[in-house]
Structures are given as structure tokens and as C-alpha cells.
């Protein structure tokens, strides 16, 4: 049996998209660049220690003291290692990726909960997205968006979005049938049922999805740096290429610190809704 040209087909599809959807990709690039730079400038124009203090106060009042203290120590460590700027770049990428993943993922998740057909179509696609090695996404990302933050973000969103869709869908399906029935029995519209009953009750599960999404985005930081996304990933890559243990370890540690901070913060918000 001759070899099926599967790879070739995908190549042709990508080439076609590259030519015909160029305008769309440029548009997306523009928007994302603006979004990411905005986040960066907001954080970089203020002195790190002021941000640290503000975050501390915010978390103390909104989350809990433990999270606030831990976060302050972590941020100080990053500042002290002189990785503040790189961390902010990474944070901007992660936040933008998460925002996009939510923007797409939550509605898709709701769709899978409401339509069995959508569920059947989307679930295998998610399995595919999650098991395909993340490096593979770098190729079309570069072809579509060139080098830089935007292709990094594209690959990150593709990789990090599945849990948001899954957990949103799961959360909504898990709302007890009798509550959905009660909401119907009082004459709710579909939208009212969704916003007043289903989403509020699914919120803890949706928050768990957001948390996973952030964690997966962080795990993409080094990979995205390979196509020029910058940030902490660059530090680690530089460490690898120069066999500089100190540099590589510090970059890695900063990523871990950010992961722990973001994890605890989103979790403590999730708990507030329980």
C-alpha cells in the first residue's frame, strides 16, 4: 500500500489558509499585539515594589492573608533575580492567552452542554488538541503569524483552551436537573436560565477550568519562546544554549513562582463562589 500523503494534505490546507486568510491573520496579529503591549506597559510603567504592594493589599482583602503573603514573597524574589521585565512579558502572554481561551472556550463549553451534537463533534477535537505535541502547533503558528508574541500566543491558546471547554461543559451539565426544571417552570427564557441558574451553579467548576488553562499556558512559555515570544522562556532557552545553569535555573524558578501565585490566586477566587 502506498503511503498516504496525510502530511502533504495538511501542508496544502495550511498553505491555502496562508494565502487566502492573510488579511484575517494580519488583523488578529494587530489586535493581539495591542492587547499584549497594553498589559505590558501597564505593569512596566509602575515601579515593581509599588505593584508588589498593591497586589499584596488586593489579595489580602479579596483572597486570604496566606495567599497575599506568599505572593508578595514570590514577587520580591523575581524582582531580586532581576527577572521582573521578563516575568511581566510572560504574564502578559499568559493573561492574554487565558482571556482568549475563555472568550472562545466558555461559549463553546456552554454549547457542548446544551447540544449533544456539538458535544459529539467538539470532544474528539479537544482530545486531538490536547494530545498533539505542543511543538507541532509552532509550525502553522509561524506560517500564519510570523515570529514574535502572536504565534506564541496562538500556539498557547490552542494548547490551553481544552480544559476550559471541558470543565465549563461539565459544570453546566452537572447542575441538578430539578433546578433546571424549576427555572423552566417559572417561565425563564433560555438566557435567564443560563445566567441566573446554570452558570452561577457551574462557577466553581468553570473556575477550575480557568485555573488549568492558566497552568497550561505557563507550561507553554518555554516552547513559545522558541518562536520569539520572549519573556522568561527566553531566559531558560538562553540558559540551555549556553549551558548556563545559573541563568536557566533562575528563569525556571521564576516560572514556577508565577505558576504557584496564579494557581493559588485563582483557586482562592474559586472557593469564594462555593
Amino acid at each position: 500500500m502506498p503511503k498516504l500523503p496525510i502530511g502533504l494534505w495538511v501542508e496544502q490546507i495550511v498553505a491555502w489558509a496562508q494565502v487566502n486568510l492573510e488579511g484575517l491573520f494580519d488583523f488578529i496579529t494587530l489586535i493581539i499585539e495591542v492587547l499584549v503591549t497594553r498589559i505590558e506597559t501597564v505593569f512596566l510603567t509602575v515601579h515593581p515594589l509599588i505593584i508588589l504592594a498593591l497586589v499584596f493589599i488586593l489579595l489580602w482583602s479579596l483572597a486570604n492573608p496566606k495567599v497575599a503573603i506568599g505572593t508578595a514573597i514570590g514577587l520580591y524574589l523575581i524582582y531580586n533575580m532581576e527577572l521582573w521585565e521578563a516575568s511581566i512579558q510572560t504574564l502578559a502572554l499568559v493573561l492574554a492567552a487565558t482571556a482568549l481561551a475563555l472568550l472562545l472556550g466558555v461559549p463553546l463549553g456552554i454549547l457542548t452542554a446544551r447540544s449533544n451534537l456539538a458535544h459529539k463533534l467538539i470532544m474528539p477535537l479537544l482530545d486531538f488538541m490536547q494530545t498533539m505535541p505542543a511543538f507541532v502547533y509552532l509550525i502553522p503558528a509561524v506560517l500564519f503569524f510570523g515570529l514574535g508574541q502572536v504565534p506564541g500566543l496562538f500556539a498557547t491558546v490552542v494548547f490551553a483552551m481544552p480544559p476550559t471547554i471541558r470543565l465549563t461543559g461539565l459544570g453546566i451539565r452537572q447542575v441538578p436537573a430539578q433546578l433546571v426544571e424549576a427555572s423552566d417552570a417559572f417561565g425563564s427564557t433560555e438566557w435567564q436560565k443560563l445566567t441566573k441558574v446554570q452558570i452561577p451553579l457551574a462557577l466553581p467548576t468553570i473556575m477550575a477550568g480557568i485555573n488549568q488553562c492558566i497552568m497550561l499556558s505557563l507550561s507553554m512559555v518555554v516552547i513559545a519562546a522558541m518562536i520569539g515570544a520572549g519573556g522568561l522562556g527566553d531566559e531558560v532557552l538562553a540558559g540551555i544554549s549556553r549551558l548556563d545553569i545559573a541563568k536557566g535555573f533562575e528563569g525556571g524558578l521564576a516560572i514556577v513562582i508565577m505558576a504557584i501565585i496564579l494557581d493559588r490566586v485563582t483557586q482562592s477566587f474559586g472557593e469564594r463562589h462555593r
Binding site: P176, E181, A182, D184, A185, F186, G187
Partner: protein
Amino acid sequence: MSKIIIKDLVKIFGDHPEKAQEMLKEGYDKDDILEKTRQTVGIFDINFSVNEGEVFVLMGLSGSGKSTLLRCVNRLIEPTSGTITIDGEDITLAEPDVIRDIRRNKVSMVFQRFALFPHRTVLDNVAYGLEIQGVPTAQRREKAAQVIETVGLKGWEYSLPDQLSGGMQQRVGLARALANNPDILLMDEAFSALDPLIRKSMQDELLSLQNTLNKTIIFVTHDLDEALKIGDRIALMNNGTIVQIGTAEDILTNPANDYVERFVEDVDKTKVLTAEGVMKAPDPVVFLKDGPHVALRRMKEHGISSIFVVTRERRLAGIVLAEDALQAVKEHREEFRNIIIEDVPKVSIATPVIDVIPVLAETKFPVAVTNDDDKLVGILVKGSVLAGMARKGDNIA
């Protein structure tokens, strides 16, 4: 006037009801149809109407189709064929926005497991129906607070449902249903999840609420005791259809078939019970010498509308109605003459209960129970006799 009219209603669960429909017409039963067509017959051949202000009970064993039938009334379940008419309007095929309107303004529901929204306070649970109608916050909260007071939960407005006991949660469920001010209440085993004492007091409360609210209520239960107590009429369901509709007396005295007979079997055993076994103490009574003033006061004290009059030897002299007593008082008459009704229904203590029921059914007064010396020893009122019978029947069985 008929508030709700149901004609030839059928609900078949499954994707291909046509074949099942035909088999129904040919007289096959549920099990055959399930086996041959893989379709479940929920209900079929349902015909009845409910009058305005009536408490209509749907009773039957688990799986007999009570919930399915109830949910057809507000179209939470789409019937396969037949018609549902509410206030003269056929709603069987009404558009979603019409149905939504009916659910918002006309028909409310109370659920077995309460189905309160756990993330909302009691107040916001009760206000839910008004909220989705777009009533402004302050206004809907005020209305909700009123209804919460009516069901006796004042002070709990800002609690969350899971901080409340079962009985209180169902009061919230009831309040939520009443807040929309619907004409019709659908109650699906509303009290079944409550323990017996709470359950009984909720039944009493529903009846007293109903006295002032005068809603049209369809109440689902599998408990005969409950059905007898609160139902003006009872429909007995078996295997997806109604086997008998009637008042409690009809059903107890003339069971339509074996199924009904078996259902009321325990009660039937009370043929051996006598009036003495189910009567209440003759309290209060007035003596002939007392006069209309005293009679009126006693009636007021006890919240009753008629009172038995006895001689000094406690022999039954007759009964006096509140309105007559009031008239006599107004006219400054000191005696019972003219207003006393001597021809009152009475039975002896040895009368079997089964013979008491027709007497009760025919009179609007309580029935007097007298002993061999013709002394008044007890009285019988409808609800208590039937409920008493059901209970004592259990003991005997």
C-alpha cells in the same frame, strides 16, 4: 367552572410514538408496547377537568404517571396527543412565548425535593419568578417578603436554603410559587420528603392557606391518607391512566375496580370500625339554658360555624348555626327557640364507619354520635373521619 380541562391526553416517551399510539388504540398495555416498539407509555387516555378553587389530587403508585401528567399541564413535558385547556384557552400547541407567559402568571409549581436555588437567599429564591419577569429589585423583594411572612418564615429572608430544615425549605418552595400570584398550583409530592409530623402540619397549613387564597390546585401524592385529607376530588392512576375519579367518599365506598379496591383495602377493613372509633370529643357544646350569646361566643372561640345544643342531661337537642345565633343576638333574643335545628344527622356509637360516610356526605353539618341513652358522646367531621379511618385501617391490617 372548569379551570383546567384535559382531553384524551397521551404521552409516549421515545422517538417514534406513532406505532405505540396505534397499539394503544388496539388495547395493548404498557409492557407489550415497550417490548415491541421500545417506546415508554407515560400516560394515556387521560380525561378530566378541575374546577376553579378545587384541590384535585392525583394518586397512584410509583411509575403510574402522576408526575408526567402534572408536567403536561404547564408543558414541562410535551404531550404526544390530546388537548389541555386552561381558562378556555387550548395551550396544547401554544408557542414557547405563550407558554412562558402562562408559567409566569398563571401556573406555578412546587417540587418534591424543593428544588430551591442553593446560591440564592430565601428572599431571592422567592423573588425569582418576579425577577425573570423584569420586576424592579425593590418591588419584587417587597412582594417576596410579604409572601415569606404568609408562610411563616419572617426573619429568614437572608438565609441560604441549606441553612433551613426540610419543612422550612418547602415553605420557601411554596412561597416561591405563590409570589407570582398564580391561579393554579401544581404540587408534585410536595410533602413526601418531610417527616410525618412536619408533613401533617404542612397539610394543615396548605388547607388553611387555601381557605383564603382559593387557588386551583393539582396535588400529586402516593399517600392515601394525604389524598383523603386535602383532596376535594381524587383521581386514582394506575399504569399510565386514570382508573377512578371521585370524592374521597366515592372512592372509599365504590371502588371502581380491583386496583382501587386494593389501594383502599386498608381503609376498607375499617368496616369493622364503628363511629365510636373515629369520633372527636363533643367539644364545645352549649346547654339549652345558655342561649344565643354563649353559643356565639363559643363558636368564635373555637373558630367553628355551628354548635350542638344539649339538655341538662346531655341529650341532643339540636344544632345552632353561627349566622342564626348572630341574628338572634342582634334582635336581643335570649333563647334558642326558633333558631335551633332539631333535625340533625346523628348516628349511634355502634354504627359502622362505612355507613357513616354516606350520612357525612349528605350533610353540611357535623354528625352527632349518641349512646344508647341518646346522650351526645361525640361528633364526626368529614376530614377527620376519613383520615382517621385510613390510619386505623393500617393498625388493624
